[in-house]
Subunit: 429 residues, 2 copies
């Protein structure tokens, strides 16, 4: 595939793939974590990771995966498979793909031998294999183990071989990034921003974002965006690659402002804080306390609120009023209101919010009542119908009814997000 | 690459590759966990996973990775990228690699439209894309979301497209494994057993299980075991591959009996029921009701209990007494007991359990009080100290103190498991 030694411009590197080698990482309970560390270091240099793989110790499979990665990426980082056993195939696979030979380097054999001797051991003969270097590769010293790494320029692409054990891999990668790789990225760095949204489905958010995507894509520097949705919360990740820190930060700030203009109060945070943190910060900064009355969410709203360290500053108590009896005698919801409107109604939700506020003697009360399913629904109030209410000082109140799709646990999760968000909206009114 | 519709022997499947699609899984802090679940299920069928990949939302890269996998594996499982947005490229990439067209299926459009309408929403036009099916593919129904899966026979290989969200992907995969895939692995069938344990760390359980593993491995047919631990619960999955149903069932039954003999009351269930279901079934079958008083768990105990459909039969109410004031005036815990013993003490836990039992006028009360952290610890009661109590009829009671390691959210999760398990132990006494 290449003519080693021929003079050639150093490759410029933008797009990487990572390959972790080892059958032990293909079981049902192990994951590859090296790629996370490698991704962090490459991203800091402005190098994007476009794909990553975990491959068994099988020569044909590994060579095929390496060959594929080299057709797509201009940097391929391999980790693992540099040990001394028959299972350690990374050197052979890469040599085969590049059409280069493997040459044993006497200096490396000597270094490995001395490493064993310092521990009073004789080097097993199979360890000679770790001294095999791909023709034309630069050797990367390993301060923490026997297997050296290798750095290869090949056809305008870079291939890096790193050991698998993290304590050997990490310092070697740090050193490669600081020297050889930082020289190949043309000075560009990556700048990131995160916007969190609540109150829309992913597809509705995406439709509103489409024109923004187009304008960001055409800007200079262009802004990339990824959207993630979970439990009724949407996270928009923004990124810019540029050599100019001022322009990078400005491009992110412009994109964030675009989203804020488009989504208004649906924007929960632009600094990475979760909904629960934002609501907590609003309450704490104003010296307000909250009490919660939950029915169908069964305690999940309060559990989420109290996932935040320090939440005891503003969460005073909660009542899970699962039975009508509990709604009546603990929260003072009139029995005739439940009989007349139904336990799942905005009127009952509001009475619950007012009741828990009064019971706890705090500034704000929040309540949720609904039908999580799978049974309990009716024609007028199907499974997934959930009513929310917030009650505050000076008769401030806010009520809302939402119909959620999904199984019981999803209805609970979406309802908890909506409930916590209603407090945010009430405080920002 | 293929002639859809041409008669062909169903492919026999031995070797799989898994491709998880989504740029969000290529950051430095996210991992793909779907592949672990998929690996477990495929391994149980006797299918080996030879490689797996995570690929960005980029058509060319994805198509290239799929093409590579299809040259190596006889089963390619893709997960993710079936959403409605421009970023969701799995359908297009696979169609391109197979040289087949994508056809919108009106019945699927209609099903998606109805799903939106049940929530009082109009289907955004972009969701039509989720109804596009690769020519010749079998459609896999999605009971938990809008995107159907697809199952494709192509050139003696099988390609399966699954959604990304685990709650949608898992049941779809289970169903595919039970039907279409189990028919492709030869005559042998898989027999499974699940034993759930509570009250031990994974490593302690593993030590006690080691001799059993050895005896199961040597048996004929041999029994394989996988151990999974989460939130203080251990799940031991047993599997036997054999063509003889009688011997398969007998081998599983023997292994389950071995575990029961070794672990006694720590065995929660041998029929797949969760701890929450087991406690719920015990309460319901005896006509008993439970009320809960939570402090550091912040509602999580009750939320877990009420994840079980029908839990309103036995969960009467709960109080999250986050402040001392709430413990005193709602649960009747004497202020001098809190002052003397500390809010985190077995005495206060017991007073809370008795208090909530009395307040709700039910048979059983459960209470948790502890220090979830990161602050609030002391030398005698470090962060992670949690006290539990159960109070029942005829002065039955059970108290317990545990020191948990880990961050706030982990302490909450482990505490909730321990609390619910204490009810089980009290009921079985």
């Amino acid at each position: 595939m290449s003519q080693p030694g021929a003079p050639r411009e150093p490759a410029v590197v933008h797009r990487a793939e990572i390959i972790a080698v080892g059958s032990e990482m293909l079981t049902a309970d192990r994951t590859d974590t090296n790629s996370l560390f490698i991704t962090a270091r490459l991203n800091e240099l402005g190098i994007e990771v476009a794909a990553k793989a975990v491959v068994a110790d099988h020569l044909g499979t590994l060579a095929s995966v390496v060959r594929g990665a080299m057709t797509r990426a201009d940097l391929v980082v391999l980790t693992g498979g540099l040990g001394p056993t028959d299972d350690d195939l990374t050197r052979r696979a890469v040599a085969e793909v590049l059409g280069r030979s493997l040459v044993e380097q006497p200096a490396i054999v000597q270094a490995i031998r001395e490493r064993f001797e310092r521990r009073g051991l004789q080097m097993p003969e199979i360890n000679r294999r770790q001294a095999e270097v791909i023709e034309g590769a630069e050797v990367l010293a390993n301060g923490f183990g026997t297997a050296p790494g290798q750095f290869i320029d090949a056809d305008g692409r870079v291939v890096v071989l790193l050991p698998g054990p993290p304590r050997e891999m990490r310092p070697m990668l740090e050193s490669v990034c600081a020297s050889r790789l930082s020289a190949r990225v043309g000075g560009a760095r990556l700048f990131r921003g995160t916007v969190r949204l609540v109150g829309r489905t992913e597809s509705h958010a995406e439709e509103r974002l489409k024109p923004l995507y187009a304008s960001w894509g055409g800007a200079d520097p262009s802004v990339g965006a990824t959207i993630l949705a979970a439990r009724g919360q949407i996270e928009l990740q923004l990124s810019v690659r540029t050599a100019d820190p001022g322009r990078g930060a400005a491009a992110i700030a412009t994109a964030v402002a675009d989203v804020e203009r488009e989504f208004g109060l649906d924007v929960v945070s632009v600094d990475g804080r979760t909904l629960e943190q934002v609501v907590g910060d609003l309450l704490r900064s104003r010296g307000l306390r909250l009490a919660v009355a939950e029915s169908c969410t069964g305690g999940l709203v309060t559990s989420r609120l109290t996932d935040v360290p320090g939440s005891s500053d503003y969460v005073e108590r909660a009542v899970v009023a699962y039975s009508n009896r509990a709604k009546e005698d603990l929260l003072g919801v009139p029995a005739e209101l439940i009989a007349g409107q139904g336990a799942v109604s905005e009127a009952v939700a509001l009475a619950m919010a007012q009741g828990v506020r009064r019971l706890a003697a705090v500034e704000w009360g929040l309540a949720v009542t609904g039908i999580a399913g799978p049974s309990g629904g009716s024609d007028t109030k199907p499974v997934g119908t959930v009513c929310f209410a917030v009650a505050g000082p000076a008769n401030q109140e806010l009520v809302k009814t939402v119909h959620f799709a999904g199984a019981r646990v999803q209805v609970k999760a979406f309802s908890a997000t909506t409930a916590i968000d209603l407090v945010r909206r009430a405080l920002l009114q």
